[in-house]
């Protein structure tokens, strides 16, 4: 019911940016609409005059190797992510995370850019991208720039860029090397909304002696923004994964996250209980993959 008046379908980033900046009233970017359209139609988002649909922009749908990076367009759907062999090879955790979103119907339209820009602390796509130390490409009328993905979040649903002037064009992360692996895992509540009670992704590189040379761990909701567990990562660097290291890592992780109770979803205590479970699963899976 008049949730929006205009639905524009630009064919290029420039056109889209122009559609955004030329708007006289409220305006927003839309991709698959599996977050935004529902919020609008359920009255959880005030009506927007103009929607600018970026899903028809070809350049946003690219997945390619760029030197030692993989480029992933913001308009790539979860369906494309899970069926793309390049990502299967280089971004297993992203494929796993996005493969859990919705059913095939949702995955056919919902995009990775939308998942990130929705800026929930526990978006499955977002969290999995963070473990790959992803950078995000922002497009404005002035041109494009790269920023660490973790930097763009401001709070639940909020980003640091001006949504009326900036588009997320794409993401990039390093190609997978020998002895590297990644994994994603989440725990759901059977009742209520399909957002993870807690999710976690890990990337790691195994060193010459079988130790974890480097790792990156992300999880959510572990604060108002998607979370990178830097302290735990630092602790694990150079350590061989065994039960003692696991216990210590779990402790450090428990200390650096800030978990909350959310009504009808999960208690803080329960989330704390899940942390080590997920940690063990993602690290061990990633080690296994790195050693393949």
């Amino acid at each position: 019911m008049n949730h929006f008046q205009e639905y524009l379908q630009p064919k290029s980033i420039e056109e889209a940016l122009n559609d955004l900046s030329s708007a006289t009233g409220s305006v927003a970017v839309i991709a698959g609409g599996t977050d935004l359209l529902l919020e609008l139609r359920q009255g959880r988002h005030p009506a927007i005059e103009r929607l600018v649909d970026v899903s028809g922009i070809d350049s946003l749908r690219d997945v390619r190797v760029e030197g030692d990076h993989i480029y992933l367009g913001a308009g790539v759907t979860h369906k494309e992510i899970i069926s793309n062999p390049l990502l299967g090879e280089h971004a297993r955790c992203v494929v796993e995370g996005c493969g859990l979103i919705g059913g095939p119907q949702v995955r056919n339209v919902a995009t990775i850019g939308g998942n990130v820009a929705h800026a929930l602390p526990a978006g499955d796509g977002t969290i999995s991208l963070l473990a790959l130390d992803t950078e995000v490409q922002l497009a404005t009328a002035e041109g494009t720039s790269w920023e660490p993905l973790i930097e763009i979040f401001r709070g639940p649903g909020e980003v640091n860029f001006d949504r009326k002037k900036v588009l997320i064009a794409g993401f990039r992360f390093r190609t997978k090397d020998e002895k590297e692996g990644s994994a994603f895992q989440r725990v759901m509540r059977p009742q209520g909304v399909a957002i993870a009670i807690l999710n976690m992704a890990a990337w790691l590189k195994i060193g010459p002696d079988g130790e974890i040379e480097r790792t990156r761990i992300s999880c959510g909701p572990a604060g108002p923004k998607p979370f990178r567990a830097y302290q735990t990562e630092k602790f694990l660097a150079g350590k061989k994964w065994d039960d003692g290291v696991y216990q210590q890592a779990a402790e450090i992780l428990g200390g650096e996250v800030s978990l909350r109770t959310s009504a009808h979803r999960a208690t803080k205590e329960y989330r704390h209980k899940l942390l080590p479970v997920l940690l063990q699963k993602v690290i061990e899976k990633a080690i296994h993959r790195a050693n393949l």
């Binding site: 119907q105 949702v106 056919n108 059977p190």
Partner: protein, 926 residues
């Protein structure tokens, strides 16, 4: 307005559309392709799935403008002419169609899967259909159907009907037959209420109270009336007839007027009819209403307290229901051990896939016609007529197909409103609820608190049972007194207990009303008593199966209400069959011991057990009758007409089988016409698992009477003894001649006999509680075992296997029985693990489907065994009795019993809260 050109099912269309129109609306309302269903409108359920350039998408959340230049395939585009797509054929033959409302979405999603993976595994199917929901719980049959379709496509294998080791015994009755309406349902031709439209039709919308308790101070509709496109705005003052409606007690105002009270958030204040749905909804925003809030009571136990706010002036107690048998004090004195505990079940939502829709129009002769997918067409007719202040015959209720009911479509929701608006505007008016409104408004399952106290001998013999129940019937009575009555009589389980005392309080509160829901109070009772029985078994160190067996009702037993069970008590056989099947799986090991899961150090598995019983029919003195009209049509087909409703349970199939059986007709020669108060005689409510028995009997005796009439006509005409006239394969053999039924019809007419008759079936008499005699004319029985897997750290629970046996008297329609039983099992898993309708201080928290999670294909156990006991009941058709409800009831207690066996944590409430469970397991230190 934008121009949209796109191709739908190979045909190009160009339309002017609004930017915010969704593809589902364009397909359904502009192109008339109503096979695509909208169930949630919030991208949760998959019902609206269509293919865009071959990929499945949710058309309810897909702006139509996005389809420009694309190729859309809907369910209508899957079949080629008369040739069904293999999936469509397989869905029919495998019984993967019940109410049918989810079916187009399932088939389209499956078609996309088969395009991508021609030979999918079970896991592939589960992954692909993960978010394509079926409230009838048809998933196991859907999985079978998809495999069968794949085999046909890949290997040319014929799609066969499944076979069962129950049923049989007659020509048609007991045989595996397709649903007569299955073909329409798989092709998208099936018509549900919202698929109907009339020229000049208006759209209705309803202003809801939004507060749980309050008094309407002022109400100003003038601005809404002025909005262009608005044709009528009505308030309580505009109701010409009776203000209140209600199934038994008329306490529910169709509209709450100034000075009157709202009693729950969903109470209706005003209704609007407008040229479009958008305008109607905009008009609601322009209505100014001031409701002075009153303190609300939202808990049934609080509602019973002295100083509780009054929901109705008559007090908060809807009914105090009592059962007494023997001498309760003596019973506890004789007991060597006594156990007591209190159990809680939450409110549950039916979440039938088809949201409520009513269309009303005024015919030239002034008669008001209402189209509605209702479980009780005659009661709708009466209540609409009373609200309009017209005689009953001035209203006609016609029931299109019903996309699931489960008890949730027995009450009035939009019927009266649509009729009022149609009367006021002279135009047809459609009122379609979206999922949000459906969740807020219609009656739910009663939340209960049930205290069970049992006295036993040390050998496990029950000597006394005392229970106390509180049921939350919400703001209005609906069927609350009956539902809680059934909770009362089922609260001591299917056991022989010499001394019984039960007190049940059905309480009004300011929560959404509660009414009928599959299991009808007996569901809640089963959770309490069966949970308790396992505790008793453990304390007495008796095998839980043995304890139940020992106390089980048998032929000749006396129930807690003093009824002597004369026949058809298959409980012990159900217990034994289930136990044997479980022991076979565990290879003789004690199924109730906790077992490790290889490779999963944090997980434990164990089985749990429960038994249950459920009355068939209304019982307790309520007259329980149905009339059927039967007629030989001009073309030689025989038509049976009853007002009863097909809500997915398979009634049409059963009636067709019975008619065919008695008249020895091929199935195609029998037409069943339901749910039309002008043309079909009253079949009574579709509730209490009664239709196969009551309407089945009505159809059976109608057919027998017609047969006798045919025989007597022909024997007179040909001067032959009746036993020399043979009905066979759709023909009548007389004197070496073979008459078609069309010829028989002509002959009867010539002889002055109408080829049609009405049979009024009256069920065996029952008596009210407290009076001697039978409370119910039949009971079904069931035993259920489930194996669960519990993650000791995360508290996650999964049902791994389910093995159950139901005594149905006679498996008249095996395919339908399998569907009802598996579907009931899955709903039971949902009630135990995924569902909870949350109301906080009278406000509904679970007001979108995304917050009320019904079980998905993901929750289907790895292995399901459905076993059937056929212990016939003397007065049931071919021995048959009810099956619709019982399959859900034993599942939650079996699950919580299994969880205890696996991890040592007892649960007094459902659904299982994994967060809490993980905490308790940690405390137990296991």
């Amino acid at each position: 307005m934008k121009n949209l050109t796109f191709v739908v099912n190979e045909k190009e269309h160009t339309l002017e559309i609004n930017p915010d129109e969704m593809l589902s609306d364009v397909l359904r309302y502009r192109l008339g392709l109503t096979g695509t269903k909208v169930s949630c409108g919030e991208a949760e359920c998959g019902a609206c799935t269509v293919l865009v350039d071959g990929d499945p998408i949710l058309s309810c959340n897909y702006p139509a403008v996005k389809a420009r230049g694309k190729h859309i395939t809907t369910i209508e585009g899957l079949s080629e002419g008369e040739e069904l797509h293999p999936l469509q054929e397989a869905f029919i033959k495998h019984g993967a169609v019940q109410c049918g409302f989810c079916t187009p979405g399932q088939i389209v999603t499956a078609a996309a899967l088969l395009n991508e993976k021609p030979d999918p595994t079970d896991e592939d199917i589960e992954y692909a259909l993960n978010d394509t929901l079926c409230r009838c719980g048809t998933y196991p049959m859907i999985i079978n159907a998809i495999h069968a379709a794949a085999d046909k496509i890949n290997q040319g294998k014929l799609i066969e009907y499944p076979s069962f080791d129950f049923g049989g015994g007659h020509d048609v009755v007991g045989q595996v037959v397709p649903r007569p309406e299955a073909k329409e349902k798989v092709t998208g031709e099936a018509i549900y209420t919202d698929d109907i439209s009339f020229p000049d039709m208006l759209y209705g919308a309803t202003l809801r109270a939004g507060v749980p308790h309050g008094r309407v101070k002022t109400l100003d509709i003038s601005k809404a009336r002025e909005l262009p496109g608005v044709q009528a705005v009505l308030t309580a003052e505009d109701i010409p007839g009776r203000l209140n409606h209600g199934l038994i007690i008329q306490d529910w105002p169709a509209l709450v007027g100034v000075g009157q009270k709202v009693r729950y958030v969903g109470d209706a204040i005003a209704i609007v009819a407008a040229d479009t749905q958008d305008i109607a909804r905009q008009a609601l925003d322009l209505i100014e209403v001031d409701i002075e809030p009153l303190p609300a009571v939202t808990d049934p136990v609080d509602a019973y307290k002295e100083d509780a706010p009054l929901v109705h002036e008559s007090g908060n107690l809807l009914k105090h229901i009592k059962v007494n048998k023997g001498d309760i004090q003596k019973g506890f004195q004789e007991a060597e051990v006594v156990f007591e505990d209190t159990f809680y079940t939450p409110t549950y939502e039916h979440a039938f896939m088809e949201p409520e829709c009513s269309i009303a129009r005024v015919l030239e002769d002034g008669k008001v016609e209402v189209y509605v997918g209702s479980q009780i067409p005659y009661s709708d007719r009466d209540q609409v007529a009373e609200a309009l202040g017209v005689p009953y015959h001035k209203v006609r209720v016609k029931g299109p197909l019903v996309g699931g009911g489960f008890g949730g479509k027995e009450d009035i929701v939009g019927q009266i409103h649509a009729a009022l608006l149609a009367n006021a505007t002279g135009k047809p008016v459609k009122i379609l609820y979206d999922r949000h409104e459906s969740l807020l408004v219609h009656p739910k399952r009663h939340a209960t608190q049930i205290t069970v106290k049992l006295g036993l001998k040390k050998d496990g013999t029950l000597t006394a049972a005392q229970t106390e129940l509180y049921g939350d019937t919400g703001a209005y009575a609906s069927l609350g007194a009956k539902v809680m009555g059934r909770a009362t009589t089922h609260s001591t389980g299917p056991y022989v207990v010499p001394n019984v005392k039960i007190d049940c309080y059905a309480m009004y509160t300011n929560n959404p009303p509660a009414g009928a829901f599959r299991g009808f109070g007996a569901f809640q009772a089963a959770f309490a008593i069966e949970n308790m029985m396992d505790r008793v078994a453990e304390a007495l160190d008796i095998d839980p199966i043995e304890l139940r067996r020992k106390n089980a009702l048998r032929e000749g037993s006396i129930t807690n209400t003093g009824q002597v069970l004369h026949d058809s008590v298959g409980l012990v056989e159900c217990i034994d069959k289930t136990a044997q099947a479980v022991m076979k799986i565990t290879a003789g090991e004690d199924p109730f011991l906790s077992r490790a899961v290889p490779g999963e150090p944090n997980k434990r598995r164990a089985w749990g057990f429960s038994v249950t019983f459920k009355n068939t029919g209304l019982g307790e003195g309520a007259p329980d009758n149905a009339s059927a009209e039967i007629e030989i049509l001009v073309d030689g087909r025989v038509e049976t007409r009853i007002s009863s409703a097909e809500i997915g349970q398979g009634l049409v199939t059963v009636l067709q089988q019975i008619t065919a059986e008695e008249l020895k007709l091929p199935l195609e020669q029998v037409n069943i016409y339901l749910s039309d108060t002008d043309l079909t005689p009253d079949g009574g409510p579709t509730t209490g698992s009664r239709q196969t028995y009551i309407s089945g009997n009505a159809a059976k005796f109608a057919a027998i009477t017609l047969r006798n009439k045919i025989l007597s006509t022909l024997s007179e005409k040909y001067n032959l003894p009746p036993d020399e006239i043979i009905l066979d394969k759709g023909l009548v053999h007389v004197n070496g001649r073979k008459l078609t039924f069309a010829e028989v019809r002509s002959l009867m007419k010539e002889e002055g006999h109408e080829p049609k008759l009405l049979y009024e079936y009256k069920s065996p008499e029952t008596t009210p509680l407290g009076e001697p005699g039978d409370k119910h004319f039949a009971y079904s029985f069931a035993a259920q075992a489930v194996e669960v897997e519990v993650d000791l750290v995360t508290g996650e629970v999964r049902v791994v296997r389910a093995v159950g046996t139901t005594d149905v008297g006679k498996a008249i329609n095996p395919l339908g029985l399998q569907g009802q039983t598996e579907g009931g099992l899955i709903m039971g898993i949902g009630h135990a693990l995924t569902e909870e309708f949350i109301v906080e201080d009278g406000q509904v928290f679970t007001d979108y489907l995304s917050r009320y999670r019904m079980p998905s294909i993901h929750h289907v156990p790895d292995e399901i065994q459905v076993m059937i006991v056929e212990d016939p009941t003397s007065d049931g058709p071919y021995g048959g009795k009810g099956v619709g409800e019982i399959s859900t009831m034993p599942v939650p207690p079996a699950i919580v019993n299994a969880i205890y066996n696996a991890c040592g944590v007892r649960m007094n409430r459902i659904p299982v809260d994994q967060d809490w469970l993980a905490g308790e397991i940690a405390k137990e230190g296991r």
